[in-house]
Symmetry: C2
Subunit: 402 residues, 2 copies
């Protein structure tokens, strides 16, 4: 039944109104040597504005995810910067940050701004410009998403932290490097069909297994790249969505949850409890079951993260998700297509923008507009899963075309 | 008429419900050599939780303002960090950033989260730990709140930018350094009565005028200090506020606006248009007039900023506000008490926390709990004004005790 998810039975705790995504825009993720933070945000924003057939002045509120403009570019205050550079002053503009979940968290805030009745047209975006620093420095900056005092200070990096998870998972459940490699192979296959992907080359299991070790057992081709990029979605009340589009995509559920920043405080380092909690809430809000979902975008900053995500989201029991990869079920055409745009691994990871870019892909799929042969047949419901750090923040969003 | 501000006549665009501040907490602002980011956030948060007589687990959502944990401390992802250190996982926790307006912007987001019907108890906080870097480095980090490409890259600092405004204002309106100094003198007088103030010493006009020049015409005693500190307020729907307090403070109006980051793009550098826009909206939402306001907290990062604020907020015509200082009307007991806690100048400026600390002071005043002789008689309505950078973001909040 259209329009009831999360609204009809919640009494005083229900939201005022339903929300739809009415337009999207995204830059290619990659190394944009000739584009800065502002240019990338502008490019994604203008695409969305043009798609909606509006003027920028129609936008009433802006929420932008950005992880670390300060450390990457010497530029904080990115919300106002975006409003300024897009010529949208005095529209209120806020930057939110939750490490690599900044985009997802921005979406949640923008959702509330429309669901509350405060605003009728809200731009949610994400942007990150990561390639103006030395490669090693990017890894150091990203470490600010960990618990500085208990992890980063002692030299931990994210490849190292996810390597701990992978090692434990392999020990507990019998995952082999050959299967882990298939996550990257699948994502590069999907990325090869996506004109906005950072990497469009296909690769084999052997290509992954012969790439250099970064942090055992993770090799270079188990790791997502450092990307520049931006993405944007426009949100409106569902009952006004027809003003902007014939194919509004409805936000059925969205939830955010937190966990410890440091791995050492968790009972089980193979479970991202923030993902578990956010997924439970998002599915409850959407009144949907896992089997209703036609495709997912999950946060594969490392190959192991994609496997953990499918389990923590409830699509598989713990220790079972990697078997989907042995059977090829996560390709377009499979039982559960995962990361049809190439994910973070091949699609790229412009950290503050990733959570929004995932939504752009889901929207394109639900509209039937995914080009290059990666369209999922009759996709009606899609889920996006965005993680900050090693799982201290997770956001799960469920979108539907009807 | 209670409970109608911004709600009764707005039809589909109105918010779902009214919101009240039901508890507050704040650390002293100052140099906290033995306390880190987490400790400060904990101290303010626990105060608020204890005041409300709740358990931390009752909190459903956390929004924390923080300008630059990354550059000050190597620590981004501050929202989840606060949830983690306060033992509140898996409660969703978001960091928002708008430079020195981060606290005000966090409050606006938290307000939406309650007004929307999504959450019934939300913690809004702000925290900044600024003294772990060298003093000169703090000024450099703060410059990230400017337009990096057009200002900071060329060596501009905030004292320099505000000095430009002061110079122009003096030229246009005849403000004398002796009058500008009275802003600092008044704020130190108020700060001397506030146990949470960074500076509690009183000073004379001569003390200000004999302090070293930082950026002509601004002297050291025209500039606020670099502080560590945190503040927190708890928000609930007004109709549930009695569960937590006998003296809920009602959010009558709150608005945020943006302007250019760089001064060079503005028509008049003596006007912060974001303040003008946010004030217009906040007063319209509150259905109140300037004359209804009993006290204000304004963003006096430099003495000149306090004068500009009173004009841009609409309490005086442009070029007139400094005359209030010649007449002593901004002291407690005067016509319009300004910065009764010492403001940023004496109260301190822990940048991400300041916008929330201002609200804590207003709440104490409206409850009649301001200690040390700084209580404003029969204060019913107070306004807080929080600015990011040189005015690219402004947030105006109007609170009422009935």
């Amino acid at each position: 039944m259209r329009g009831t998810g999360g609204f009809s039975k919640r009494g005083d705790h229900g939201l005022k109104r339903e929300v739809a995504i009415v337009a999207v825009g995204a830059t290619r993720f990659g190394e944009h040597w000739s584009k800065g933070l502002k240019d990338l945000a502008w490019e994604a924003g203008v695409q969305a504005v043009e798609e909606a057939g509006i003027s920028g002045k129609d936008i009433q509120y802006i929420v932008f995810g950005n992880m670390s403009g300060g450390m990457f570019e010497g530029q904080e205050h990115v919300g106002a910067l975006v409003a300024d550079f897009l010529g949208l002053n005095p529209v209120p503009a806020t930057r939110v940050e939750a490490a690599c979940a900044s985009g997802g968290v921005a979406f949640f805030q923008g959702y509330l701004a429309v669901a509350s009745g405060m605003y009728d047209l809200v731009a949610v975006g994400g942007v990150e410009k990561m390639t103006d620093v030395e490669p090693g420095q990017a890894t150091e900056i990203l470490s600010a998403a960990m618990d500085y005092e208990w992890e980063a200070y002692f030299g931990a990096t994210f490849p190292g932290v996810y390597a701990l998870m992978a090692t434990r998972y392999m020990h507990d459940y019998g995952l082999k490097p050959e299967t882990l490699a298939k996550v990257a192979v699948k994502n590069h296959y999907h990325g090869s069909m996506n004109p906005l992907a950072h990497f469009r080359n296909r690769m084999t299991v052997e290509d992954v297994l012969s790439s250099p070790i970064v942090a055992h057992p993770l090799r270079r081709n188990d790791c997502c790249p450092v990307s520049d990029g931006a993405a944007c979605v426009l949100l409106a009340p569902l009952d006004e969505a027809h003003k902007y589009t014939d194919t509004p995509i409805i936000v059925k559920g969205v939830a955010q949850a937190s966990d410890t920043l440091s791995l050492l405080e968790r009972r089980d380092i193979c479970t991202l409890n923030a993902t578990v909690q956010a997924a439970e809430k998002a599915f409850a809000m959407a009144k949907l079951a896992r089997r209703d979902v036609d495709l997912v975008e999950v946060h594969d900053c490392f190959t192991i993260a994609e496997i953990l995500a499918l389990e923590d989201l409830g699509f598989c029991a713990k220790g079972e998700a990697f078997k989907l990869y042995e059977e090829g079920e996560t390709y377009v055409g499979g039982r559960l297509p995962v990361n049809t745009d190439g994910g973070l691994k091949a699609g790229g990871h412009a950290v503050g923008a990733t959570g929004v870019k995932q939504l752009v892909e889901i929207v394109k799929q639900l509209r039937g507009e995914a080009e290059g042969g990666r369209q999922v047949d009759e996709a009606e419901i899609g889920l996006a899963h965005n993680v900050g750090g090693s799982g201290a923040t997770a956001v799960v969003t469920i979108l539907s075309r009807r």
